[in-house]
Symmetry: C2
Subunit: 117 residues, 2 copies
Amino acid sequence: MADASGPLDRVFHALADPARRGMLERLTRGPASVSELARPLSMSLPAVVQHLAVLEASGLVISAKHGRVRTCQLEPGSLQPAEQWINERRLGWERRLDRLGDYLARQTAKGDEGSPA
Amino acid sequence: MADASGPLDRVFHALADPARRGMLERLTRGPASVSELARPLSMSLPAVVQHLAVLEASGLVISAKHGRVRTCQLEPGSLQPAEQWINERRLGWERRLDRLGDYLARQTAKGDEGSPA
DNA sequence: TTTTCACTTAAGTATATACTTAACTAATGC
DNA sequence: GCATTAGTTAAGTATATACTTAAGTGAAAA
């Protein structure tokens, strides 16, 4: 799987890098230029631009150029599918543990009943 | 960033592949052997084992070998940091939009007040 | 109008991913 | 014991990542 074709692939991959997560955190505080995104990161500008490209390809960020500055911002709702996927897994898994707990409780009850003391 | 050192790096990276997400989905329905995880995937067993290694390195899955079969299961709570990170970003961003909305509403109100009709 | 600034493009490198096949090990089942 | 099964290890390959430096481009400031 080297293509990262599905939307979730791209979003999770985008989130898997601390520099990109840092850029996203910055953008939650409002739009920013490429240089502003780059400032706290210890890497070259082109490297930051490449990270930005990953973020845009994932749909998490959009940008537009005005004059010579490119302004970036979060794309509302783009995190939702990822959040939802995780949430569904957690729910499914919790339900399963609940059922398992019920089962074990019943088994214990049966055991208490069938072989008392 | 080629090391994927932080826990979030590893978790998000683990989630960024459809085969691995498929394995996780299978595991939400209960523990499974390596062969069971491999069955629906069209790739060799060693490839599946490598994906499993990524899942284990991320902390999402644990496994133990009994006899000749390795049984895998989800590690409870391991998804929480990822879910929480996303959730915090969404909240921060929604708060910002709220404030922006308030600001724009106030500006509009001032405008209505200052230059009526 | 010349310089500076904010990117952008190109090209190259080291490392990591996602696989493959082939050969091996060890527990089961007969 | 001997074949089968479940998984492991090793080694190799193609592609993708995460950077780098150097050389543009074009808007804005001086």
